[in-house]
């Protein structure tokens, strides 16, 4: 019964979107975490999505989403002149993370919308299955 697979497929999407929300939350929380050295500065993290394709997989059924990994952004870090900051280096600069707050907000909204539509799909699939079970009664 392929309707049961809808739950698997949408479930993987829920998992992936949750992870995306998680990284967004982490990025937003650390958006202003200053650091004295470049190596120790927080960098924006983003998950990488990919379809769950398998060499032996039947190409005719739907495929779910998998998270290949989480990558750190390569965008340049922000340097701020703030000699009074306790973490300032010898020249008086502190390093701030390369988190783009506007981008993170857009990411958050996109992730929560996708989560919602997947929940809706699961709900309709549940309705369809329940009606199938009660067939002939």
């Amino acid at each position: 019964m392929s309707l049961f697979n809808v739950f698997d497929v949408s479930g993987t999407a829920l998992h992936a979107q949750t992870l995306r929300l998680n990284t967004t939350a982490s990025n937003m929380a650390n958006a202003n975490t200053a650091s004295s050295s470049i190596d120790k500065t927080y960098r924006a993290r983003h998950p990488v999505f990919a379809p769950m394709l398998d060499a032996f997989d039947e190409p005719q059924t739907g495929v779910g989403v998998q998270v290949l990994g989480i990558v750190e952004s390569n965008a340049p870090l922000k340097k701020e002149f703030n000699p009074n900051h306790p973490l300032a280096d010898k020249e008086g600069y502190i390093n701030l993370p390369n988190v783009n707050v506007a981008e993170e907000m857009a990411n958050m909204i996109s992730a929560s919308r996708s989560y919602q539509s997947n929940i809706e799909i699961m709900n309709s699939a549940k309705q369809m299955l329940l009606r199938t079970i009660s067939l002939g009664q």
């Binding site: 392929s2 999407a13 999505f49 990919a50 379809p51 059924t61 992730a111 539509s117 002939g136």
Partner: protein, 133 residues
């Protein structure tokens, strides 16, 4: 009089099969709405339904012993899974348009419910005939 369930159920049973497979494909499209390079897929419902009526058990796949063995198109259910033409593809190569997929999914599930209702009606009339009341 000879009786067969296929005759009683008619088009509704293969229709249910095809609709539930289509539901899975559309759910996969929506699940991959944010996956780069994912191409939205769908089936030609008329062709698939015709195929399901002609071959209710589906086609048997060719036996593959090597990864590079290629199956003929549409080998499993007898129809091909096609790619959707997007109105406006995303810059990351994704062709899923959530609105289109949601409306197609909803329409498909309404049609599924309708097929179920028809099947339920057939079953009820069979039950009435059996009881003779």
């Amino acid at each position: 009089m000879r009786f067969s369930f296929e005759k009683v159920f008619g088009v509704h049973e293969p229709a249910l099969h095809t609709q539930s497979r289509r539901a899975q494909l559309l759910a996969a499209n929506i699940a991959n709405a944010d996956t780069p390079k994912y191409k939205a897929r769908d089936i030609d419902f008329n062709a698939a339904l015709e195929m399901a009526m002609q071959h209710p058990k589906g086609h048997q796949p060719l036996q593959a012993t090597n990864l590079r063995h290629i199956q003929p198109p549409g080998y499993h259910y007898g129809y091909e899974v096609l790619y959707r033409h997007p109105q406006q593809a995303a810059i990351d190569g994704n062709t899923v348009e959530t609105e289109t997929e949601m409306s197609e999914f909803t329409e498909n599930s309404v049609r599924y419910m309708a097929s179920l209702r028809f099947l339920g009606g057939k079953l009820q009339s069979l039950q009435a005939a059996i009881k003779g009341q």
